[in-house]
């Protein structure tokens, strides 16, 4: 029982990341009709926003400490971060400690800018080109982005810990007599994801901007005829999609130390999520994200792997294949969208 609940929690957690990435991906596909293979890379860049902020906050003055020796026997170089010398040691340390949540503020403008630049500079020219070309150019972009990140940050994963206050384990099951302890940060991530998803939906639901975009998703040409400058709105939409993926990346860094390869790792997966949920369906993407997360968790249990050896390796792809063959519009896709 506890094991089952634990796997569901795990699934929701993984699903949060999948859902956030897929949300942006399907938003871009729904509004712009563009298949963005660089979306995983945006997630990765978000994660490195967090790393960058951490590095910036750790910029230090170097003093030599003659009492200690470094590995060559020279006096040890002791680094004092500027923030500590500016705000005092305690305040400075807590600023560094909270660098991941702080990175949200840092990442939003950065990701919006990257999204807008990407759309204006590249994607715009591909609206009229075949899907294959869009896939290929964004695939090329994904390679470039990951190599640039590698050139700056190296290939090794970089540890970016959560704030001490949110590090540790919370006992969720004590009240109901179950042994169910779960990392605080993962719970935070789940709620953060829900908030972002809720924000995006509310934005689309309750603002005029959102209404136009939704109308545009339903029928791009008609909205264009109404004389609304839909292109500009779509540019902003692309920026928002990039920001959502970026935020998902920022907050994911304490769960797994980020490396330059994350984009490709999450790319195939997020496409599967979008397909399972239904191309262009926002609720579908969210639902499929959580569903696949949970399914993946269950497939990893000893029970599953002993029943069907290797099921944990292939479950995601198997689901994608079955969905595509049996119900190509996905769980919540509209009939007729991309079915043939």
């Amino acid at each position: 029982m506890d094991a089952l609940l634990l796997q569901i929690l795990n699934g929701l957690d993984k699903g949060s990341a999948y859902a956030l990435i897929a949300l942006g991906l399907t938003l871009i596909f729904g509004t712009l009709g563009v298949v963005n293979f660089a979306h995983g890379a945006l997630f990765m860049i978000g994660a490195f926003c967090s790393v960058t902020l951490n590095k910036i906050l750790n910029l230090s003055t170097v003093t030599l400490d003659a009492t200690q020796k470094d590995f060559l026997g020279n006096p040890l170089k002791v680094k004092t971060p500027y923030v500590e010398s500016w705000f005092g040691e305690a305040a400075g340390q807590s600023i560094i400690d909270w660098s991941v949540p702080l990175a949200i503020i840092f990442a939003i403008p950065v990701m919006l800018a990257i999204g807008v630049i990407m759309e204006r500079g590249l994607i715009k020219h591909f609206y009229k080109r075949p899907h294959a070309d869009q896939i290929l150019v964004t695939f090329g972009l994904a390679i470039v982005l990951q190599e640039v990140v590698k050139a700056f940050f190296g290939a090794n994963p970089i540890q970016t810990p959560a704030p001490d206050a949110l590090d540790g384990v919370m006992d969720l099951g004590g009240a109901i007599g179950l042994q169910l302890s779960y990392p605080v940060w993962r719970i935070t991530y789940f709620f953060f994801a829900m908030a972002v998803i809720g924000g995006v939906f509310a934005f689309l639901r309750f603002t005029t901007f959102g209404m136009v975009v939704r109308a545009g998703m339903a029928d791009r040409e008609t909205v264009g005829l109404l004389g609304i400058n839909i292109d500009k709105k779509f540019t902003i939409m692309f920026g928002i999609a990039a920001a959502v993926a970026g935020l998902a990346g920022v907050m994911y860094t304490p769960i797994n130390p980020p490396n330059y390869h994350w984009g490709m790792d999450f790319l195939v997966l997020s496409f599967v999520v979008v397909v399972v949920g239904g191309m262009g369906s926002l609720p579908g993407a969210v639902l499929a994200g959580f569903l696949l997360g949970i399914l993946e968790s269950f497939a990893s249990t000893t029970w599953a792997t002993t029943t069907i050896p290797g099921i944990n390796q292939i479950i995601i792809y198997l689901v994608a294949i079955i969905i595509l063959l049996v119900r190509p519009r996905g769980l919540m896709g509209r009939a007729g969208v991309m079915e043939e």
Binding site: H125, I314, Y317
Partner: protein, 395 residues
């Protein structure tokens, strides 16, 4: 000649001449010169040129003609390699049974996957093939390599051991051979400051590629090829013209799968080892890059693209900072250092970045690939834009 029109005969002869003379063409710089770094005329790379050429030619029959973008063709290459190595393990090192089996197995495998994937088109088809390829990779990498049932030998790669069965084992033939002629035999010709290497494996692969290139020309120019191009243009019309598109696309898929299997079998024949990473989706992405880079839907493009990418992978990745410094040593030091600093990002360990950039540039500015670029240059030299309506299709 050979039932080809004049233009195709020209292309075909060009391919034959280039492949036969490759040991010379690829080795333009004297062995001891600084530029020797750029020579590509050594057996392994030349073999890769023609083998990946075969892979790309086959892929082009599917993607170039029908427009179906498969992200899973590396799976067939991998399957072909495994089949070939198994033939080495079970029968003998003779490459003929290995090649035959690799084509057959890849054909069956692609029939199965194609049958399922072709129920969808567009991006859905791409994602389906991607999912199948990733699944095949995972299965080959660990599921089918467990100690109880070891079909692929996992990370280490499938290879031939001395205690393997080898029913028709021949003494002294411990590497792949064609009726006794060893694939790894190399003859060398020294001509002044130049060394040229003539490798048996390369010429065997080259002959296979030339044959396969010929087959692909015939397919391109046949009614079947016409139908495939029609599939790309307008499936609705084709259906309402009384043609069932599914068998056409499936046939194209299987043919390209068999080409991939043959390429995989040849890879294993040149070097008897088959690894799972050949099946990864990034490897499938590579053949897509090759085809696009050269020019999808053109005859020569995929071969060019394959050569280009393999050249980059093997030559550019070996240019380290030391080599760069050696090139620019005659320059003033500040200039030398800044040049090296700039190039450093793009060569050696940075070659993936160059590849990504190059690829983007091609897709953005030259959607027709290198062939398109060559045509544009030719037209520019002629000084007039060729009439659009006089353009010969598919070339």
């Amino acid at each position: 000649m050979l039932n080809l029109n004049q233009r195709d005969t020209g292309t075909f002869l060009f391919v034959i001449i280039i492949t036969v003379l490759a040991p010379f063409v690829m080795n333009p710089f004297p062995t001891e010169s600084a530029m020797a770094q750029f020579n590509a005329g050594y057996p392994d790379l030349m073999q890769r040129f023609v083998i990946f050429g075969i892979f790309a030619i086959g892929f082009n029959i599917l993607f170039g003609l029908t427009g179906y973008l498969s992200f899973g063709h590396a799976a067939f290459l991998g399957v072909g390699s495994y089949a070939a190595v198994w033939m080495f393990k079970l029968l003998s090192y003779n490459i003929i049974p290995a090649l035959v089996l690799s084509v057959i197995i890849a054909g069956i495998f692609s029939l199965f996957i194609g049958f399922l994937c072709l129920r969808r088109s567009g991006i859905y088809f791409s994602i389906l093939t991607l999912a199948f390829a990733q699944m095949s990779f995972a299965i080959a990498y660990s599921v089918l390599s467990n100690p109880k049932f070891n079909l692929t030998n996992g990370e280490t790669g499938l290879q031939v051991y001395a205690d393997d069965i080898q029913l028709f084992k021949v003494e002294n033939l411990t590497t792949p051979h064609l009726f006794g002629v060893k694939m790894n035999s190399t003859y060398e010709l020294t001509l002044g400051a130049w060394d040229f290497q003539f490798n048996v494996g390369y010429y065997v692969s080259a002959v296979v590629m030339i044959l396969m290139f010929y087959v692909s020309i015939r397919i391109f120019r046949s009614p079947f090829g016409l139908m495939l191009r029609a599939v790309k243009t307008n499936q609705t019309r084709l259906n309402y013209t009384g043609l069932n598109t599914r068998p056409y696309t499936l046939a194209a898929f299987v043919i390209s799968g068999m080409y991939a299997g043959l390429a995989g079998g040849l890879l294993a024949s040149m070097d008897p080892l088959a690894g799972a990473e050949r099946m990864q989706w990034t490897a499938s992405g590579e053949v897509v890059l090759m085809t696009i880079l050269g020019g999808a839907g053109t005859l020569l493009g995929p071969v060019l693209g394959a050569g280009f990418i393999k050249y980059f992978e093997n030559i550019l990745s070996k240019i380290n900072d030391n080599v760069l410094h050696a090139w620019f040593q005659y320059l003033p030091e500040w200039l030398e250092n800044s040049l090296v600093w700039v190039l450093h990002w793009f060569t050696g360990k940075g070659w993936h970045l160059t590849l990504g950039l190059l690829f983007m540039i091609i897709v953005i500015f030259l959607p027709g690939g290198l062939m398109d670029g060559a045509n544009r240059i030719r037209e520019a030299i002629r000084g007039r834009k060729a009439k659009k309506n006089a353009k010969t299709p598919a070339e």
